[in-house]
Assembly symmetry: C2
Homo-oligomer: 253 residues x 2
């Protein structure tokens, strides 16, 4: 049984790492998170990824069917979906990517009924916020942090009401300090991350801490550009790390 | 620590399942496999996927760089690569897909120096054999089982000599009884699977049992068509299951 022991030991280390090492220090906290982070999937459940270009990842928007590789594209959504389909192979899960490049919270709101509620997701993962800030910096938008927070909260409230039993997974918006990201983004981007976290907590959602994950992953050998060339759009290595952290945090794969 | 225990417990079950339940019955066997199935990856290691259309999966052949999403395409190679990059995020692994649709053993041999040996893989995964049979059935090829076995063995011997320290992962060729696959494939296809297994054993390779995996996955709710519409090319669910089994069998992710 040595193989199992070794594999399990490494796995437990990785879980600890994904939880920011919290389980090494405060086991009680991890236990408390467990109940909130491990929904049980059932046969035929829908898993839906919503967001902007990071989720979109160049997907084929003509393919609307579940588990379509081109529609799921080559980013974290595809990587998570393929892991879920492999781990829960008998459940016939239906995985969809409905991210659209350039989207902000009001853009999600405008297409929410058709692109989210109509799909009746069992698990709904949302990553939104970087364009709410980026488009403001480039003069294309004037939404405040408060508008982001209230709009995001209203979207989730509407979702929980329309889709009973949905498990919400809110992904922390993130940037890396390279490419298009400079000091003009701060401190407002940090305020928007904090707003997203409050929204997630208010809705009882699972929170996936992508910003702290990337911050911890930056080393001399793996600088910001290794994870996201322009500071916003992840490389394949960045998407892969996101998928790993999403799966560990939710406990689904 | 409840979360860890639960996750680990499920993980050990999955490892058991991937090993055909062997660890439940003969722990000694699993221990013996462990040494052979868990290479330690190091910084900058190359992971290469070779094969036919199942590996190719419509990849972009103009992109030659490592970890390129379009070059890895949307099949099991991409799913495994993304998992490896996520789990071993600090190692800067270099993952390549060099599968080419329609390839048989002699086709691999003809392009082996440029497409495999020159890349100096630390882990080399090969899935080859379905076209060696299919093209024979359609009258385009006349290779025998013995030629398949000898050609495959020679290819591996050449590889081990040219790439010291390479870990070979041989994937079992498989078909599902639907679509293009009918009784005319048997018993020769089974003989070719057995030949591939002998070749893997002779080379000290890790053996990934895709045929028994798919056979075990077929149920009333998930018939052969759910895993591979034409009996040869996996659906996304099929690729996802292959990736999961490959990772569990090698112990790499």
């Amino acid at each position: 049984m040595e193989l199992q022991k070794e594999t399990l030991s490494r796995r437990s280390l990785l879980i600890g790492a994904a939880a920011g090492g919290a389980c090494m220090i405060t086991p009680g906290l991890v236990h408390a998170q467990a109940a909130a982070t491990a929904p049980a999937l059932a046969a035929g459940d829908v898993v839906l990824f919503q967001g902007d270009s990071i989720t979109d990842a160049g997907r084929n928007k003509d393919a609307a069917d579940a588990n379509n590789p081109g529609a799921l594209a080559g980013g974290y959504a595809m990587m998570i979906a393929s892991r879920l389909l492999g781990v829960h192979s008998g459940l016939r899960l239906q995985c969809y990517n409905r991210g659209i490049s350039g989207n902000k919270v009001p853009d999600l709101d405008a297409r929410w009924q058709a692109d989210t509620i109509a799909l009746k997701p069992r698990v709904l993962s949302i990553l939104i916020g970087v364009n709410d800030m980026w488009h403001k910096l480039s003069g294309k938008y004037d939404g405040t942090v408060d508008q982001y927070e209230k709009g995001f909260a209203a979207l989730l409230a509407k979702t929980v009401q329309a889709v009973p039993g949905v498990t919400l997974v809110i992904c922390e918006p993130f940037v890396l300090r390279c490419g298009a990201v400079n000091e003009t983004w701060f401190p407002e981007f940090d305020q928007r991350r904090e707003a997203a976290k409050r929204v997630a907590e208010l809705a009882g959602a699972i929170w996936v801490p992508f910003q702290s994950m990337f911050d911890a992953a930056i080393t001399a050998d793996t600088p910001p550009e290794y994870w996201a060339g322009d500071g916003v759009h992840p490389t394949m290595a960045g998407h892969a790390l996101m998928a790993k952290t999403w799966l560990d945090t939710t406990g689904l794969g």
